[in-house]
């Protein structure tokens, strides 16, 4: 169990809802859910979720911290926004799902080998190198995420799609060597680093018991 996870359990001992409200992006909306279920019914991937959004909101209010944060449900969201459009209370459900996923990752609770979580990490690292996504490398790292053998298999399976993307100039072989980027890459990296420092400082206060008591 990560230190941060322990600290957060201590901090919000009896109220997972308060924890979500304070730490999850758009988390303050969770209490607005009236359990009508239109989000769950509208989700195109709904049947693949262990817990649909409506159930997640209820679980948060019921204090089922571990079940929610270790669930892979919020990682299933594809940002289609069907739920947001139909929610009678206009909850930003998509954003809450991504907020929950981010928070679970921060606490080290992401399910092992969750493909979406892995993809998100690969995407982030890829983009941070140059400030732009390198499609070729992104595709390749995704294919080889489970090792060399499966990677070759996956690459061959998708070779037609890859060729088409090359033809349409959506992907260039030259990208393999360096690739395009933003004008001021080091400036961007500095900016992100600073933001990360601020976030780390914010989270660090939970590691210090004195600070957490009056938090």
């Amino acid at each position: 169990m990560s230190e941060l996870n322990k600290a957060m359990i201590e901090q919000y001992r009896n109220s997972f809802l308060s924890e979500v409200e304070a730490n999850v992006e758009e988390g303050e909306w969770v209490k607005m859910c009236m359990q009508c279920g239109v989000c769950s019914g509208s989700c195109p991937l709904g049947k693949h979720w262990a817990h649909p959004p409506q159930e997640i909101f209820m679980m948060i209010r019921a204090g089922k911290r571990e079940e929610v944060l270790t669930s892979d449900s919020m990682w299933m969201c594809t940002s289609c926004y069907n739920c947001i459009v139909r929610c009678p209370r206009q909850l930003p459900i998509t954003h809450i799902m991504h907020g929950l996923a981010t928070y679970a990752k921060k606490l080290g609770l992401t399910p092992k080998n969750q493909p979406t979580a892995k993809f998100a990490e690969i995407f982030w690292n890829n983009m941070m190198k140059k400030g732009r996504v390198n499609e070729l490398k992104l595709g390749l790292s995704l294919y080889f995420k489970d090792g060399f053998g499966p990677g070759i298999k996956e690459a061959l399976r998708n070779k037609d799609l890859g060729m088409k993307m090359m033809k349409a100039k959506r992907m260039a072989a030259g990208e393999f060597f360096g690739g395009h980027g933003v004008k001021d890459v080091s400036g961007l990296q500095k900016m992100i680093k600073k933001a990360q420092e601020l976030e780390d400082a914010r989270m660090k206060k939970f590691d210090e018991p004195e600070a957490s008591q009056d938090g």
């Binding site: 359990q35 009508c36 279920g37 239109v38 019914g41 509208s42 709904g46 159930e55 139909r86 206009q90």
Partner: protein, 427 residues
């Protein structure tokens, strides 16, 4: 009926539905002079289009008949139909009302013999049945219309049909040269009772009201249950005319939804429970009713009515706001969603789906002829700046008939107080 004798001690009632009729009669029976202005060619409003009332399951025609009789007998009450208030200027105790009178083409000689309707040919959607049936270009709006006069559709004026209607009339009751008029008269206080309209179900895109024939609204279903209605009281599927025995109701269709109506429309839960009786009465043990709901709002004495429906063997309650309707086999609407009691995913087909659409105020926020306080939902709030204008019934909030009538009596009393003050001041 274009002469209106009025003074600043007269009460103007805008809208002749159940609220307006009640306010007008209550005020007139205390001795006040009342002018009742109604946009439609007849009184009774949406109540006249209901088959039964909840919770007693008695017929609204009964109460309407009593009110119409009271109206006929009262010399203090002037009724103007086919009229709309276009301007209201002044202040409490001293208003000038401007009223636009649509041409009626039919005068008081009409005996409702019906010869004109037989003579004309063109047909139009019957608004009394929410477009579920057709009516002629010369028609009696409904069997209990008050005033009991035939109406000529303005669309036939200038066509052969208009002349045919005139030629068929033995009582010289048709005047094809009737023109729109505008009249002005003084009033002391105003009861604003313009009522409600059903929320436009086509705006709820995932339910496909505009795409699926077998998805209807609760007001349409009410007409289908009425023996005088478009199906002769039979509950049938619009797509193929077959009996609809497996009926689903979707609650909060438009209500309690920030994308549609903010408010709870209050009547729809009870209306669907009432309409469940229609299905069970029609098909007995063969009936199968499913009610999809967020929560059932049957308050006070309505709780018993709810409990009774809940206990029926062939009625199911599914706690879920339906996410979408898709086309199933044989034009069956297929309801998709996840229920809240166990999070079970369902895709269930029904013969017919009734959307329990909510109420919205019939006058839009920017077309009030007078400056009154309107809330976010479009209803009139009691406020100082409203002066001598008092909202009654569904112009003030989403109300059932019982509460609308209470609200109307209250508004009548406030209006009487204003004109009494005027009378005292003028000695």
């Amino acid at each position: 009926m274009t002469e209106v004798v009025a003074t600043n001690q007269t009460i103007l009632v805008v809208g002749g539905g159940i609220s307006g009729m009640t306010a007008a009669l209550e005020a007139a029976e205390t001795g006040a002079q009342v002018v009742l202005v109604e946009k439609r060619p007849y009184l009774g409003g949406r109540v006249s289009q209901l088959y039964k009332y909840f919770p007693k399951l008695c017929h609204p025609t009964c109460g309407l008949e009593i009110n119409q009789r009271r109206a006929k007998m009262n010399p203090n009450l002037t009724i103007v139909t086919g009229a709309e208030v276009s301007k209201l200027e002044g202040e409490a105790g001293n208003y000038t009302a401007t009223v636009k009178l649509s041409p009626t083409y039919v005068n008081d000689n009409c005996t409702a013999c019906g010869e004109c309707a037989k003579a004309v040919e063109a047909e139009f959607d019957d608004e009394y049945n929410y477009g579920l049936s057709k009516r002629k270009g010369a028609y009696l709006p409904h069997v209990m219309a008050h005033p009991m006069k035939y109406v000529l559709d303005p669309a036939i004026i200038g066509t052969d049909d208009a002349q045919k209607a005139k030629d068929a009339c033995k009582y010289d009751a048709i005047d094809l040269d009737d023109k729109e008029k505008e009249i002005q008269f003084p009033v002391g206080a105003v009861v604003w009772a313009t009522g409600w309209k059903p929320y436009d179900a086509a705006k709820i895109q995932p339910y496909g009201y505009d795409r699926f024939a077998n998805v209807v609204t609760n007001v349409e279903f009410e007409r289908m249950a009425d023996p005088k209605g478009p199906t002769g009281g039979k509950i049938l599927r619009p797509s193929d005319g077959k009996e609809a025995k497996n009926v689903a109701f979707i609650q909060c269709a438009g209500s309690r939804d920030r994308n549609h109506l903010y408010h709870c429309s209050r009547i729809c839960c009870m209306a669907s429970l009432k309409q469940t009786h229609y299905v069970v009465d029609a098909y007995g043990d063969d009936a199968q009713v499913s009610i999809y709901y967020i929560d059932i709002r049957a308050i006070d004495r309505f709780e018993d009515f709810y409990a009774e429906v809940r206990a029926m063997d062939n009625v199911k309650f599914i706690k879920s706001k339906v996410a979408s309707i898709t086309r199933g086999e044989n034009d069956n609407p297929c309801l998709n969603g996840v229920d809240t009691e166990g999070y079970h995913r369902y895709a269930t087909e029904h013969d017919l789906v009734v959307l329990a659409t909510g109420m919205e105020p019939s006058v839009s926020v920017d077309s009030f002829p007078v400056d009154v306080e309107i809330n976010r939902e479009g209803f009139i709030e009691p406020a100082e700046k409203n002066g001598g204008v008092f909202a009654a019934g569904c112009a003030s909030d989403a109300l059932d008939v019982n509460r609308a009538v209470q609200s109307a009596t209250g508004a009548a009393l406030k209006a009487i107080q204003v004109v009494n003050r005027v009378a005292r001041a003028e000695g």
